[in-house]
């Protein structure tokens, strides 16, 4: 009888212990965390992680079967971003950032270009902006748990409701919220471009020496980046009569470009995630390519009312064409 009671007590203790352990796991385990947090929570966490995370690793960028590797070291201390990006293929370009000052080192040219970048990271910026109109132009959802660069991730999908814009897939590190992989997806579900870490160390001690240039640049030629032209905010009579749903004017500016005296009006449209710039310049008769691409970005140019109207953006070619063709002066 006593033995039976002891057995019962022991069993209850084991069950109770197991329950405590399990409930503890349920609170702290990343899997459970992934289930508790909604997509918006994850995006907020990612936005914070991108700005505060120290990391070191290898990034693979894949576009249409072409892959390139970049070694990245990124440290944030006292609010200042220090970063080194080394392209592993081709000319071995190195980008060394200290705050906003950036040195681009071209070892094959024995040259250094000094520039100023005002965003937080060479590879990542805050994605997406907080005012993205989820539920209107995009749906965001948690798709599944996955594994990237040896770490547990949660995969988010940002799906557009129409073919005016691209979709996104983002794999976030469950522990930190840091994006370990991103994909840009076309309307057919095919990846246009993806970026992923092959390996990464997050928030480990990174020596400042890891940020030093790989080359002795003392005998390199140094070049200052040309100063940006004066840009000022203006009001404009130009507007788009057939703007895709969700896009709205973010800013309107006027500026000049290198080698040209005429003022160019620049209107930026955005749906919170995708953005399209419209450049309106007087038609000087100079030939300009009607359609062109850079990476996943497209452009379309057309002459309207004696002005060359050019739309540029990381949206499908049909979108920039529609916006450009719909511009009119009031």
């Amino acid at each position: 009888m006593v033995r039976a009671n002891l057995m019962k007590i022991r069993r209850r203790f084991l069950i109770a212990t197991a329950s405590v352990v399990c409930s503890g796991l349920a609170i702290v385990a990343p899997v459970a965390l992934a289930q508790e947090m909604g997509p918006s929570d994850w995006l907020r966490k990612m936005a914070s992680a991108v700005q505060t995370t120290n990391y070191e690793g290898t990034v693979i960028r894949i576009q249409n079967g072409t892959a390139e590797a970049l070694k990245v070291v990124h440290i944030v201390s006292d609010g200042v971003v220090r970063e080194k990006v080394v392209v592993q293929d081709g000319n071995g370009l190195e980008i060394i950032r200290n705050g906003n000052e950036v040195h681009c080192i071209l070892p094959d040219k024995k040259s250094v270009l000094v520039g100023e970048w005002n965003d937080q990271s060479t590879l990542f910026s805050t994605l997406p902006s907080s005012d993205i109109r989820f539920g209107v132009e995009y749906d965001v959802s948690i798709v599944r748990k996955d594994r990237v660069a040896g770490r547990k991730t949660v995969m988010l999908a940002i799906r557009p409701h129409d073919s005016y814009r691209y979709g996104h897939r983002i794999w976030l590190d469950i522990k930190t919220g840091f994006p370990l992989q991103t994909k840009l997806i076309d309307a057919n579900g095919e990846p246009i471009e993806q970026v992923k870490f092959a390996d990464i160390s997050i928030n480990q001690d990174i020596s400042l020496t890891a940020l030093a240039p790989s080359y002795d640049t003392d005998d390199f030629r140094w070049y200052d980046q040309p100063e940006r032209d004066v840009i000022r905010a203006v009001e404009t009579d130009w507007s788009c009569s057939n703007l895709p749903p969700g896009f709205r004017v973010i800013s309107t500016q006027e500026s000049t470009f290198p080698g040209a005296a005429e003022l160019v009006t620049h209107i930026l449209y955005s749906d919170g995630l995708a953005s399209v710039s419209i450049f309106i310049a007087p038609d000087t008769g100079k030939k300009i390519a009607e359609r062109s691409r850079v990476g996943a970005s497209s452009s379309f140019s057309i002459v309207i009312e004696d002005h060359v109207v050019t739309a540029v953006g990381e949206v499908p070619a049909a979108t920039v064409e529609q916006i450009a063709r719909s511009m009119q002066s009031n």
Binding site: R61, N64, G65, T66, E68, G90, L93, I95, I96, N98, E101, H103, C104, L106, K109, S111, L113, V114, N118, S121, T122, L123, S125, S129, S163, H168, T182, L184, D186, A187, N188, E190, I192, E193, V195, R221, W222, Y223, I250, S251, H266, S270, S275, S277, K286, K287, I288, A289, R291, S292, R293, V294, G295, A296, T310, V312, E314, P316, A317, A318
Partner: protein
Amino acid sequence: MNDGIKMQISAFVDGELPDNEAELLLRRLSQDLDLRQQAAEYLAMGHALRGQRSIPGADTLRERIAAAIDDQSLDEDFDAIEPPPKRYARSLVGFTIAASVALAAIFGLQQFAVVPDLNNSLATEAMADSVAEEAYTVPGQPDDQILDYFSRHSATIFDSGASNINVRLATFRLRDVEIVAVVETAEAEDAAADTDVDSNTPPERPSP
């Protein structure tokens, strides 16, 4: 018809298929009637999606296949295909874009590709004669203007906080293009250094 053939056809129409691959494609199409019909349907769908009356690249393809099989009636096969109903537009536009992007040139200078003016029938003959030349690898004057626009667009969206990772990387490459351009200028200055030392003094090295 598999995606590889579709991509090759897209590339041909866009003037971006290397000569050797174009010859191979023409040979396959000239020897396979079913494939020709599927290609015609595919082109008709792309045609409808782009909302264009004619595609010079497609005309060139038709003419070259006809020449290969010595059959002018091929024109009717291509012309007889009606564009698909508009309800297909959404899913097909994705493929069209993917195929086009898939054929974009390699990064670096070659990444900056000019898509041929599909509405300009004058471009048709040039495409037939020299397909490869349509993807410009070295920015000319018009391309410089577009490049400036891409750069300004990227800089502006960073300022407004509406940027994303992929744009960032595109800009990363844009800067590479800019750097190359600057260095080329510097080399030209180097060449003139013997005669004009003062104008070729590089700027003082800024502190990192």
